[in-house]
Symmetry: C2
Subunit: 216 residues, 2 copies
Amino acid sequence: MAESDAKTPRERYRAQVREEIKKHAWEQIADAGASALSLNAIAKQIGVSGPALYRYFANRDELITELVRDAYRSLADTFRARAEAGADLAELAHALREWALADPQRYFLVYGTPVPGYRAPEDTTRIASEMMAVLLDACAAVAPDASPAAPLDDHLAEHRAWARDHQAPPSALSRALLFWTRLHGVLSLELAGHFTGMGFDPAELYAAEIRALANP
Amino acid sequence: MAESDAKTPRERYRAQVREEIKKHAWEQIADAGASALSLNAIAKQIGVSGPALYRYFANRDELITELVRDAYRSLADTFRARAEAGADLAELAHALREWALADPQRYFLVYGTPVPGYRAPEDTTRIASEMMAVLLDACAAVAPDASPAAPLDDHLAEHRAWARDHQAPPSALSRALLFWTRLHGVLSLELAGHFTGMGFDPAELYAAEIRALANP
DNA sequence: CGCGTTCGTTAGAAGTTATAACTGGCAGCT
DNA sequence: AGCTGCCAGTTATAACTTCTAACGAACGCG
């Protein structure tokens, strides 16, 4: 998958085994969730005996953290790829939904229930910032509306540390934040199954939010 | 806490012990999440030995399911109580946020990452319907806007099975759904810590969404 | 070609959930 | 009041889990 460009044969083998471990880990997560991930079961599937995996991951948490990292990277990559292909806000939204529906548990690995004590590693927050930069670009490209600055705009104008040095206007900051929270709201409830049996189509709800975000 | 109105002393004692088990379970969940809940640890805290708890809960899942049930009931109760006190949509929204902030892990027990195979028990969906009914009442009480019917309204007009026999107009159905998804979007990201370090106040974002929902 | 790093093994400790079998005491009925 | 039966809580045990320690073997680098 990723960094197979290693020098020594040992490192190449090592990266290969790590990828195989992660592959089986993803399969387990896909059909039982991250909390049910069992190192022993992975070892059995690969054909090695339990403790062998500890040569590749210090412990279960490190493996899961690595999967979280990959999930973040995957989302950021699809996001950036679409943006570089000239996607507007609506197309980014659809990309997000496709990415989420492709593997719900992967989505939950990024945006799901956190363990109270857990500190996200530095690079995931860095990747999140990259995604936010892409999103801010798309929001800044939207034709500015004539409506007066809302209270949220004013607040964000004074608290824009999260936008780094991005020169987006306050209205774009608001739009980016609302893009994030509203789409996540629909997506996470849909993926968690809270809409099942209600009879309506979540895609319609999602589309409605996209329209609302495009022209506020 | 709840049904202490039992007939026989045995039943009363039994209900009391169940409540004590759940009390310690909530404490564990509050500071380590539901996945870290340990029956053994609870037994140790109470002062009995491991397997004793199986007299009161068939297994770990049944205990967690019971906690989920209680969480649903708690949310529905605060919701209904506020509504009966004459709360409008904005006040219901604030009640939701207070309830969520009071115990984030309780919120995640209801709206967090689901276990793929898990089927929610019948009564939780029934409680969810009750909450939706309260929400629909509040939405129907909002002054109808003059704006033409949006595509979402049209879709929901034909797919309103989830509203049961509630006579709310399509615009109210839309508003209720958006109330749910948008507020959940902000809340769940806030509780999961995705806003920490970004520098803005999540309450401002939440308030902005409430304003947007009040006059669309 | 040797030597050292590293990989995989087995053994085992310390947890977990959950079941089985036993014992003690309380409750309720006569 | 006394007897009886149910039931709570016990220990023992099985089958898991993560993870450490110590050992042997294989691989690759100098």
